[in-house]
Amino acid sequence: MLFNEPSPLETKVLTRRFGLPNSASIDTYLATEGYQAFLKAAKMKPEEIIAEVKVSNLRGRGGAGFPTGMKWGFVPRTSSKPKYIVVNGDESEPGTCKDRVLIENDPHQLIEGVLIAGLSVDAHAGYIYIRGEYRYLIEVMEKALAEAYEKGWLGKNIQGTGFDFDLYAHTGAGAYECGEESALLESLEGKRGIPRIRPPFPAVAGAFQCPTILNNVETFCAVPAILRDGGAAFAALGIPKSGGTKMTCLTGHINKPGVYELKLGFPVKQMIEEVGGGIRHGKKLKAFIPGGSSCPVLTAAEVEGATMDYDSMASRKTMLGSGGVIIMDEDTCMVKAALRIMRFYAHESCGWCIPCREGTTWLKKILMRFHDGQGTRTDIDLIGDIAKNMLGRTFCPLGDAAAMPTISIVEKFRQEFEDHLNGKPCPYEHSGSMVTV
């Protein structure tokens, strides 16, 4: 099911089957070139598959943007250990709701992407880790897996290629940190989601301490198109160094919020105005988060001339991230936004390392005090100081993810913090204080 109207400005590659009758069924999939990329890959050498993925310039869609072909190349294919493919479907980055629509509308595309990854490193088993809240997607996935087994696209000697592969859906049970790759692997082993020290990276010691390819749902979903139409064709859709399309979730104060598949390099202005129908109620843009709440915030001025790709965002000291675009209009209280984001990280910190556990909790408390009008001028600098002291000093990137948006908000919207000083009521809020957990 689609929850929003598509836009004519989309480039439909991963979403090409969306809207077809029974788009999630194997019959629809097979009738629309489904599993042909796997058959093609099965005739290729593993290094040729990886080369094709490298040519495509596909970069990880889970948030970090690591080149996928390179990652696959790190897996020691000839190791005597079993190798595994793990799909990160934990999708919990605030602002992000795209893996959900990919699984719901076209689960076989994901299965095919996993199979091709399996061929490329000689893996014969894989796990699709889906966040616990997405229970209905576990059912969608299990149905698709059963269909694939029944029609011989999973299991032993798939379609006579001699390749065996078993794939399982695995549910999480509520924990943002389990989206971090090493915490996810711990969770998959039936443990608390505490991240692992790296190196060794999952490519060498991942699932069950064996070599593992771990990618985001969207990353795997891009792979069938790359093998089918060629890496060069996929690369050509984007801009140099950023190939293909990105599932983009427009959220916040926008007229047509929704998930849209846009070419990498899509101009932000056009995305807001034409894809998203402009800012709600004719208001002006105040702040823009390109890809989930972990990204530093951009001001309206910084958005001028920006495009949705890794380089454009990096040059503005933020990140393309997960594709969760968060749009805030001129009436948004940035102190409240910073507080809500920090409350999230304080809640989700796994507690393993002190700078993150204590830092997020203190920042939450200070921001809460601030939003209630009890802040002091020195607190403004304190917020920035604590956050900067977390940067690079935590065991996993969650600490940075909490610090980065906070630092950017304090630096770019300092005046709003000043406006909350001396017991003044929040200038943007007329309906009392914010709920607290």
């Binding site: 709701c97 959900r100 509520g174 924990a175 608390r192 959220t251 968060i326 409240k336 809500r340 914010m434």
Partner: protein, 160 residues
């Protein structure tokens, strides 16, 4: 403990899904699926899961406390989870949450006296583009207004 035939089938499948000697991997899914059937995670269930996957009850308890969806206390028949994270907040998700609390007369992680409803303020549930969003048990509801929420809860209350 005895479970429904479907749940037993699910357990059998889970125990065969991981490499030999790695049955512990089934722990979290088994706990969540069993909780869905019996309503909460009891001491008896912890012992049962521990026995089936070959770990100690302590090892299960240790994991259990980490995951926010695993509950050792009963929830309402309808567990109303309101997202107030950033994309929902921008669509007044916080006010929706307050409205739900007022309507049911309970707060965060509380259960109504008749056991019908419980409320939880939750973090992003992956419905950000269709905010504000809530989940009642596992069902998503998008673009929820206070009026829509009232209708939904009143409808559920009337259900036999």
């Amino acid at each position: 403990m005895t479970f429904s035939a479907q749940l037993e089938a699910r357990f059998d499948k889970l125990l065969k899904s991981y490499p030999p000697g790695r049955q512990r991997s089934a722990m979290i899914p088994m706990l969540l699926y069993a909780q869905d059937e019996i309503g909460q995670i009891t001491g008896e269930l912890v012992n049962e899961v521990a026995t089936r996957i070959g770990v100690t009850p302590l090892q299960v308890n240790e994991v259990l406390s980490y995951y926010s969806m695993l509950h050792t206390k009963p929830l309402g028949k309808y567990h109303v989870q309101v997202c107030t994270n950033i994309s929902c907040l921008l669509h007044d998700g916080d006010k929706l949450y307050e409205h739900a609390c007022r309507k049911l007369g309970i707060g965060h992680k509380e259960v109504t006296a008749d056991g019908e409803f419980s409320i939880e303020e939750v973090e992003c549930i992956g419905a950000c583009s269709w905010a504000p969003a809530i989940q009642v048990n596992y069902d998503f509801h998008h673009h929820v207004t206070p009026e829509k929420l009232d209708q939904l809860l009143d409808g559920l209350r009337k259900k036999p």
